[in-house]
């Protein structure tokens, strides 16, 4: 903690005061927990006042079967000028939560948020184009949730040969 940059300290302090964020720590990396309503303004403050002009990564994490919070959306911000990294986390409750988008601040958040919608089912209010990106257009379900099955195929040994053979998909293709 003593080695942390002065600029980073002041940025964290400002966000903590304005938006009542809590500080978490992992090793020498600091992450700020912010409420979902404040995330857009917090990012705006960080970008305009503290020059965190680059969004490295935006992803989510599912903590099922814990209900409160069920999801955490994690933002990694980077400042080119000061060479500093900062992590923001937003805890979300409920099965189909939503939070404001940061696409107008960082244009490259567009596809990150689409991927989170596709994989987790977290809605982003104000996103211009929220639709599935990695899965097929009509897929049902959100694959990266913990209650979604992996969908693996059982290896076919001799003792379960017949059962697996029944379930294996046999395509109907026409031979010439």
């Amino acid at each position: 903690m003593a080695l942390m940059d002065v600029h980073l300290q002041s940025a964290i302090q400002a966000i903590k005061e304005k938006y009542n964020a809590q500080e978490g720590q992992c090793g020498d990396e600091v992450s700020l927990l912010t409420a979902p309503e404040h995330i857009a303004e917090a990012c705006r403050t960080l970008r305009d006042e503290f020059e965190f002009n680059f969004l490295s990564d935006e992803t989510a994490s599912d903590y099922w079967p814990e209900e409160e919070p069920r999801f955490h959306v994690v933002y990694q911000l980077y400042s080119h000028r000061h060479n500093l990294r900062l992590c923001l986390r937003v805890p979300l409750n409920g099965d189909y939560p939503s939070l404001p988008t940061i696409v107008d601040l960082y244009p490259n958040a567009n596809w990150f948020e689409r991927e989170i919608w596709d994989m987790f089912g977290i809605r982003f209010d104000g996103h211009p184009d929220l639709r599935r990106i990695l899965m097929p257009y009509d897929w049902e379900g959100y694959p990266l949730r913990k209650d979604y099955p992996l969908g693996y195929e059982e290896p076919q040994f001799t003792f379960n040969y017949d059962e697996i053979y029944q379930h294996k998909h046999h395509p109907k293709y026409e031979e010439p």
């Binding site: 090793g27 992803t59 960082y106 596809w111």
Partner: protein, 409 residues
């Protein structure tokens, strides 16, 4: 089972301009299977004659579900899947995963392992740039460059095979260091490669750099300014071609990169030609780094001796009880990483490759997310290609160096 799902124009209405709806412009599908899209990328182009008005990339045709699959495997087993993400930078994917585990667990990495990691990562960077150069030149109809590049790449793949047994998906880096020490012929082979390679880069430059056809097809194409590039999240050579000097190896050095002297090339105009020049110069700088690392290569162990995470050598198993217990625990249950979350960026040949690793204290990762540079760069493709011809689009896609395994994970 294979019903064809048609996406009607209604769903894409907000993306295409009004002229497409009226029928003035053509909506063309540059489909998943196309020789110039470097993988399975689908582009929906809105064309006015030959000029691209808008280009909507559609990815997901190579979605492998690696992130979910890694949550079901232990840490060591999951590393095998990381190779197959960005399949041209396999060693780099391993490196970033091992760095994340080492940060969470506090494992030490011996100096010899760090130096060999640097050597292999830079060789992989050269190999990836060779594939980029070969396919990019092939798209712009310079076929001989393709054959030359793959000839050099075979030498690097031989070195990889000598160390790990596999040409591409090596899984050579493990948490704590390397899988095993490099053989005796390693240094000789690498030195032989370094002796001939700078002359080969000159050969490629002779073919392409001052070639009037190449310059016509690449200058002033796909221009993006420095500020726009940062706003759209570009990193790596695609960013440095426009000016900003951001290289993760210099900004947040890892694995001993601060000991080596190397320059980071930047361009000025931000067009396809500058990105090409940046990557060619990067290959020369990689040769420089490998030279220094090989000269300073220290002796010593290649893997940490922390038996909670690293299996003991087999010779010890006959004599020591603790070694046997550690071996048993590591093989049946796998090691457990303390609770926490970490984000580690490294410099891949495409840009900033990052891994976000979250652990809940168990033997399997809770969440592994790869920040893939290709995923981010493809978002900027509509901006880069507005107003250009379809043939220029091919050059632009080549210049941002996409690998769909990276984007779709």
């Amino acid at each position: 089972m294979l019903q064809q799902t048609e996406v009607s124009l209604d769903e894409l209405r907000h993306l295409v301009s009004d002229r497409a709806i009226e029928g003035e412009t053509v909506l063309l599908n540059m489909g998943p299977q196309h020789p110039s899209t470097h993988g399975v990328l689908r582009l929906l182009l809105e064309l006015d004659g030959e000029t691209v008005i808008n280009c909507i990339p559609d990815i997901g045709f190579l979605h492998t579900g690696v992130e979910k699959n890694m949550e079901a495997k232990t840490y060591e087993k999951a590393e095998v899947m990381t190779d197959r993400l960005d399949y041209l930078n396999t060693i780099g994917n391993n490196l970033v995963y091992c760095l994340a585990i080492e940060k969470l667990t506090g494992l030490d990495v011996p100096l010899r392992a760090q130096a060999i990691r640097v050597i292999l990562t830079e060789l992989q960077r050269i190999a990836s740039h060779l594939v980029w150069l070969g396919t990019h030149a092939l798209d712009l109809a310079a076929m001989s460059a393709f054959l030359y590049c793959f000839r050099e790449r075979e030498m690097i793949l031989d070195i990889m095979e000598m160390c790990s047994g596999q040409r591409m998906m090596t899984t050579f880096f493990r948490p704590g260091g390397l899988w095993r020490d490099v053989p005796a012929e390693f240094e000789l082979s690498v030195r032989r490669f370094l002796r001939i390679f700078p002359a080969r880069i000159d050969q490629y430059e002779t073919l392409l750099t001052k070639n009037p056809i190449f310059m016509d097809r690449t200058k002033k194409i796909g221009v993006i300014s420095g500020e726009d590039a940062i706003r759209w999240g570009l990193t790596g050579p695609s960013l440095r071609g426009s000016g900003p000097n951001y290289d993760v190896r210099k900004a947040q050095p890892y694995s001993g990169y601060d000991q080596y002297e190397f320059d980071v090339p930047t361009g000025t105009h931000g067009d396809v030609y500058d990105r090409y020049r940046v990557r060619m110069e990067e290959m020369r700088q990689s040769v420089r780094i490998v030279q220094q690392a090989l000269d300073k290569l220290p002796y010593g162990p290649v893997r940490s001796s922390n038996r909670k995470y690293v299996p003991p050598p087999r010779a010890e198993l006959g004599t020591s009880m603790e070694a046997l217990i550690h071996h048993f625990k590591l093989w049946t249950e796998g090691f457990s990483v303390p609770k926490g979350a970490v984000y580690i960026p490294v410099e891949s040949p495409r840009g900033e490759l990052g891994v976000y690793l979250e652990s809940n204290g168990g033997p399997k990762p809770h969440r592994v997310h790869y920040r893939a540079p290709t995923f981010v760069h493809l978002q900027a493709l509509p901006l880069l290609s507005k107003g250009h011809l379809v043939a220029d689009l091919v050059a632009i896609i080549g210049s941002i160096d996409i690998v769909l395994g990276d984007a779709d994970r």
